[in-house]
Symmetry: C2
Subunit: 305 residues, 2 copies
């Protein structure tokens, strides 16, 4: 691989930005990587572990002279960051983001982008339940999808460079429009996260089943929910507030189905349950065949415990 | 370890029974392990891979002379198996089971146990999303809990032997009463499974989001749900039908909480969401501290992809 951007500025230094820095270094994709974060503690840790080549105090300083600027802050902070950096962007620079919702980010960021700057929203479908500057690793994007959402009339060269960057960091790049993205993600990520948060909250609330027992006997099922429900609270608050319509639509469908299954349990309709559970088995097979998970028997956490 | 039971009979040869056979062999806990399964195909596979020392055609034959009989069939099949084996059990033998619900199993099995046979229900909290005679492995129970539910007046020696067996297979043994067991498991396992099945069913139903996209972009969240929702349909149908009250109670609480979170999204109450998500994070920490999962960043499936 050869250098695609001479200078990359990462705004926000959490799991995604940190992993991008390490993945860009791994493949030698950037001449110099600088960054900033709102919290002084995050900046200090990033300096201490050498997460980027240089840490700036403000986003306005960090973006100066950058050929690529990556907005890697919670969705709710995008507008103020965009407003801050707008006047300091280098003409011809590309600005992208890594937010989990896209319509709201585009609404928040696009108005602040000066003429001659290429804004190409993006969303790498990768993450873990950990957050913060120490949580990144170079392999995070390997064989994961990164969705780019190029606006109409986008500069072809700028788009090609951003594509090559993500591919160089290990990702498979796809394109989508923002409306469709927000609906697909509501199904595959946003609604499941809210549901996992809810179930863990219920368990935490139950007084007859002590916390200790819930923890001790967390079999497969609940254990996986707690992993999902340990994800970054700020990020997820912003996701739900900014993909409200699609998330609420999917949750409405979910509630309908849940009520139908509850009624089948109540009335003892075993055939309905069996057929439903058989159907859901197949979709799992598809995911394994698509290479997005392994067939290793995970509930037993073999080789990891 | 030394031999605890001269002859063990496994009724059912799926994931749990198969893993028990391999775990008993690993530690040399049984003189001879025999088994049976209702399906001819399962019996043929078990013979082919030498899962047990001898495979019988019927449960009645399999239990003859056995010192320990393990009922490892779906909960809905327990009554008919108990009726079949009752007259053939050796006096002084111990009968246990591995069903995921306990009140219903006790109701189904206890009436068929002859005097002089020790019936001690059990439930190993271990499993994977795979099923069938090829899915077992000796390490399945290592560091997992096995709950025993000894009835009043149980024979102390029979209980001690069963405890030692499970410990020899790697498990931590705990005792509980059946009512409490069924409630705890409704929270930690049964309700989460139903919820995962529901969400995967919703995704499968949505016509605007094609199956292919759901599979392709199955980020963390949905991907973990599909793993749970790939579990054995027969087993889970029987679990829900036989732990109806506790499961419906927990699902009722779940729906209440979900509605509160939905309203917070609809009204834009970010503080409510943030506080909720922060609270659920803590329970995850407890599970890791209790040694029931690892802190490795799992969404990235490091070292497994």
């Amino acid at each position: 691989m050869s250098i695609i951007y001479d200078r990359v500025a990462l705004i926000g230094l959490g799991l995604i930005a940190g992993s991008m820095s390490l993945a860009m270094r791994r493949a030698g994709l950037a001449g110099r990587i600088v960054g900033t974060a709102r919290s002084a503690e995050t900046r200090a840790v990033a300096r201490e572990i050498g997460l980027v080549d240089e840490v700036f105090e403000t986003a306005a300083e960090a973006v100066k002279g950058a050929d690529l600027v990556v907005l890697a802050v919670p969705v709710g902070a995008m507008a103020s960051v965009a407003r801050e950096i707008g006047p300091h962007l280098k003409p011809g620079a590309t600005v992208t983001d890594v937010g989990s919702v896209k319509r709201a980010v585009i609404r928040a960021v696009a108005p602040h982008m000066p003429r001659g700057v290429h804004f190409i929203p993006g969303h790498p479908l990768a993450g873990t339940e950990h957050s913060g500057p120490r949580s990144g690793f170079a392999e995070l994007f390997d064989n994961r999808f990164c969705i780019l959402l190029p606006p109409e009339g986008v500069d072809a060269g700028a788009l090609a460079d951003l594509r090559t960057l993500w591919q160089g960091m290990g990702a498979n790049v796809e394109e989508m429009d923002p409306d469709h993205h927000d609906l697909v993600l509501a199904v595959t990520s946003h609604a499941p996260h809210l549901i996992a948060y809810t179930m863990v909250g219920v368990a935490d609330d139950l007084r007859r089943v002590t916390d200790k027992e819930v923890i001790k006997y967390s079999a497969a099922g609940f254990r996986d929910f707690t992993r999902i429900a340990a994800s970054d609270p700020t990020m997820w608050r912003d996701v739900f507030l900014n993909n409200k319509d699609a998330t609420l639509e999917i949750l409405g469908r979910f509630t309908e189905e849940l009520f139908a299954l509850q009624r089948a349990i109540r009335t003892g309709d075993g055939d309905y349950l069996f057929e439903y559970f058989t159907r859901t088995r197949n979709i799992r097979r598809g995911i394994i065949e698509a290479g997005q998970d392994t067939d290793a028997p995970d509930f037993g956490r073999i080789g990891k415990a």
